[in-house]
Symmetry: D2
Amino acid sequence: MGAHADTRSDGRAGVRAPAPAGVCPVLLTPFRPDGEVDEDGFVRVVDHLLAVGARSVMFPGFASEVLALSDDEREHLSMVLLERTARREDVTAVVSVPDYATHHAVRRAARLVEAGADAINVLPPHQLAPPVESVLAHLEQLLTAVHPVPVVLQHAPLQTGTALTVPTIRALAERHRNLAAVKVESQPPGRTISALLDSETPIPSIIGHAGQQLPDALDRGAIGVQPGCSFTELYLRVWHQWEAGEPAAARRLHTRMLPYLSSWMQDVNVIVGAEKIVAMRRGLIGSDHCRAPVRELDDGERASVDAFLDEFGAELPEVGP
Amino acid sequence: MGAHADTRSDGRAGVRAPAPAGVCPVLLTPFRPDGEVDEDGFVRVVDHLLAVGARSVMFPGFASEVLALSDDEREHLSMVLLERTARREDVTAVVSVPDYATHHAVRRAARLVEAGADAINVLPPHQLAPPVESVLAHLEQLLTAVHPVPVVLQHAPLQTGTALTVPTIRALAERHRNLAAVKVESQPPGRTISALLDSETPIPSIIGHAGQQLPDALDRGAIGVQPGCSFTELYLRVWHQWEAGEPAAARRLHTRMLPYLSSWMQDVNVIVGAEKIVAMRRGLIGSDHCRAPVRELDDGERASVDAFLDEFGAELPEVGP
Amino acid sequence: MGAHADTRSDGRAGVRAPAPAGVCPVLLTPFRPDGEVDEDGFVRVVDHLLAVGARSVMFPGFASEVLALSDDEREHLSMVLLERTARREDVTAVVSVPDYATHHAVRRAARLVEAGADAINVLPPHQLAPPVESVLAHLEQLLTAVHPVPVVLQHAPLQTGTALTVPTIRALAERHRNLAAVKVESQPPGRTISALLDSETPIPSIIGHAGQQLPDALDRGAIGVQPGCSFTELYLRVWHQWEAGEPAAARRLHTRMLPYLSSWMQDVNVIVGAEKIVAMRRGLIGSDHCRAPVRELDDGERASVDAFLDEFGAELPEVGP
Amino acid sequence: MGAHADTRSDGRAGVRAPAPAGVCPVLLTPFRPDGEVDEDGFVRVVDHLLAVGARSVMFPGFASEVLALSDDEREHLSMVLLERTARREDVTAVVSVPDYATHHAVRRAARLVEAGADAINVLPPHQLAPPVESVLAHLEQLLTAVHPVPVVLQHAPLQTGTALTVPTIRALAERHRNLAAVKVESQPPGRTISALLDSETPIPSIIGHAGQQLPDALDRGAIGVQPGCSFTELYLRVWHQWEAGEPAAARRLHTRMLPYLSSWMQDVNVIVGAEKIVAMRRGLIGSDHCRAPVRELDDGERASVDAFLDEFGAELPEVGP
């Protein structure tokens, strides 16, 4: 989108800003075989996702190999994304701010909103285990800086060891109406989704982790899912079936995906590598290169990608150049 | 079994002791509502498992709430198990030794073998991060003490942070022919299973974690699986289909189980609680009490147990008193 | 002591039970060279500590190699301690309850109080990261079961990852007057000591970690210290100097000890090993055996024990048989 | 220095490149009260350190608040440092490369060497626990790219969870003569220092952690120490006394520092905050601002900085503008 006109009018006291709902794929970062960013491939991925029906996209997350990107690379690709979505009023571009220093996180978030970000995702600082007060101050300053643009708080205690608890998040949401949603990546996510809704200030959830627990999340009221981006068509179909009142069909398709998701999601490196192979086979990107340090897929893991494409290939057509 | 006659004859140099193969359920510990051990229930569970076709059982593991048992309770229940399997030449009783002190672990293992244990499972000491040399010494003394009885090494780096690597395990296996198998609970387990086999001293693997990755494990040569014990019939059917040369059928059944396994296995407390509800509903045990401290199942998690029983109830008949 | 008469009269609403104050050494567990418990040595250590002026002792802690003791061994040695202190009205015997299961922790605590324990130390369950609600329930049941006997809550987040925060502890202390003190082993402990006192329900602290931060702890109002037990005379002198209004002298002695404490406390295995060598050289115990798995002291670490005895030997006389 | 002429001639097979020896302070990053980098202050700190006799300096480390710096800020300040040391043939400028992606780490290291870095410090990638093979590949590519410039490998397993062991480091050093030293920040460091030297390919160590274990490290053969930078004069005096054959005097001074070091080093935030106050009081920097998220010093911690300056003020003169 880019204009925020509607969003801003929703920012008034008492009405929570709208969060990115539905299937919101996390963009991969394509690299050339020499390790340089393939910007054309990135644009092709964005365009493909919008073409198949995604109405929100997120960048950069762990699925984007965010740790392997320089500050400049992630800022530049974020801007490329925002240019691409600027004229699409129907598309929500969510840009993530994983910066450690509050100083930088607040400035980057403001810059991204200025450039047209429709929502900001924030990964709380976690290295060196900062005290919860300082993590809260980080979040509050960022929420204030981008108000009334909606903010998604990424809650991934296993990866980040963050000290944020449900009561703490609830108190934060009471003070900041633009805390629009929590991306729940705790294990298991279900009870956190329920606990966040069970409040006088209910907070909607977005489910991560490749949507492995998507049916449970939907049962509990999640409003969105942020999987990878190389087989978005499948997630969209699950979502549409659920919305169309056909949960049994949605579950059936999800269960077919589960052997792959539950295997690949055991290791971030494996799911990123598997997604890149799928994207390359579909013609979305020219190379499945992942930036080191990385755990390369072994033969068995590569075989599981082949099996996935055998099973779902007909539903995941090749993308022309 | 209890006699070790066959096992001992296999213990000669150059031939690895036979590991417990196939489906080897980990026994739950039934508690009465007041928290006391329900020994009758324990016996009923053992008898049921043997009746439905399990040819090996393991006790105690995390699925047995081993952390909540006193030394006396786990020793006593181990002995109850061994009495029950003593006359069954066709059944392999695997007893686990999670003791921290090498002094106690070696003595307990010897005692259990004396009492008829067919194999010993060893959880390496991990609290306070002991140096790898002392962990190896622990394992070597135990292997020597019970020789030629086969030993299964439990490899659960996420829970235990153990410093054991594949090369370390391989070197240990070269010196100890009764290191019969590794119970692989790393994430993902697949590449570890392959790496352990890809050696001049190939080491067979047993897969844990509720058999969530069972098809991949079988593809890679795993010789056994150690799930919980309340729906063993399903695992046995998957196993028999695979052995009968019907891997597609095996995968289909496993995929049907996966929504439940992949959800419950996110938290040890949840899968233990879910298994106990299933066991109680089937009439195996009188109470689904878990000893605190524990994370109680919430409504959504209880609903998933109901859904599981709706789906598989016909295949998991009630057990008469 | 053993009678609790005085303690119980203090247990009335509104008055916090008295915590063990001053220097409270944690008893080591002497082993014979073959690894068996040396009960005579244990009694000799207790008697020595009382003879040199300790008025409270604690058992078992990490310094007692508690992980390496069986349930029976720690129960038996606890009872030996309580027999030894039974007739000493001036001595506070603190017995620790590290049991994981609430079921066992509550019963053991009650048994120890029955046998004459003057105070109970509780290490909250932490393996498998139980939810904070269940840890609180564990503590509450134990506090109730032993009321009005004072309880010391061990707060060692680095070792145990416990989710207990200062506000949580404060709320617990408001409901349980016999939550007498917190043994603070967070790093750094100082701000936790201050935060626990800065409340309408001030909670006194006892400092652990070999008293490495003792002067800061005293400045902030700590009421006790729980170091090891092989050079208690030095800690007693620091304490008495401080109480006598000679903090500069206390600091000087403490600073002389600091090169050794700050080195040894980097690794639990090292300080336990170093303390055992000191105790053996002083004639307190017959062997410095530590139960494996353990990190053995290397030459440089042994040299530092020699240097310590060179420096402080005159102040730490040999103990006759 | 900047020329590498001498260094390069040492890079021949069989001779290890010379590591930065002696006292090598880690530069702090001064911030203005508004959070912006104070470049003038940074230059003032560098000049001061060279003026008081430091012959090597390191930037950026945890003591530089490296996590709070953007890529551009740390690159720019590194270049400022290298300009300042370019004409000083007697000064070794060590620049650290903490980048996660091998792609960026190698390029940055080459750029820094081109700009005159005399040695490169590398912090191995550790987030998401990359496999040891990929960490080794990261190090090997960097070592090759900057050859024959010496490289210091930062070994901080507690902060970084790195899987590097002494045998692994030894094998790496055998293949790369410019692996000049290991910065040992394991706890305890002593046995690692000894183990790295006890080899046919002895590897020298530099001690970190504020030099808290400096005497032990020197006893074991460490060749350097990397403390903070606000009271470098004290470390230089310890070092010179030791080199002058007066270890007792060196120990005495170190022991006087120990109450402060052992307290502050419990928390990276505290020692960074304390060092900044000292630097500000001495007139080195205009503000003691640390970038959030950070744990602010409490009253007791501030009092300990006052006590430090009371004790050592005469030895740490104010620095004129």
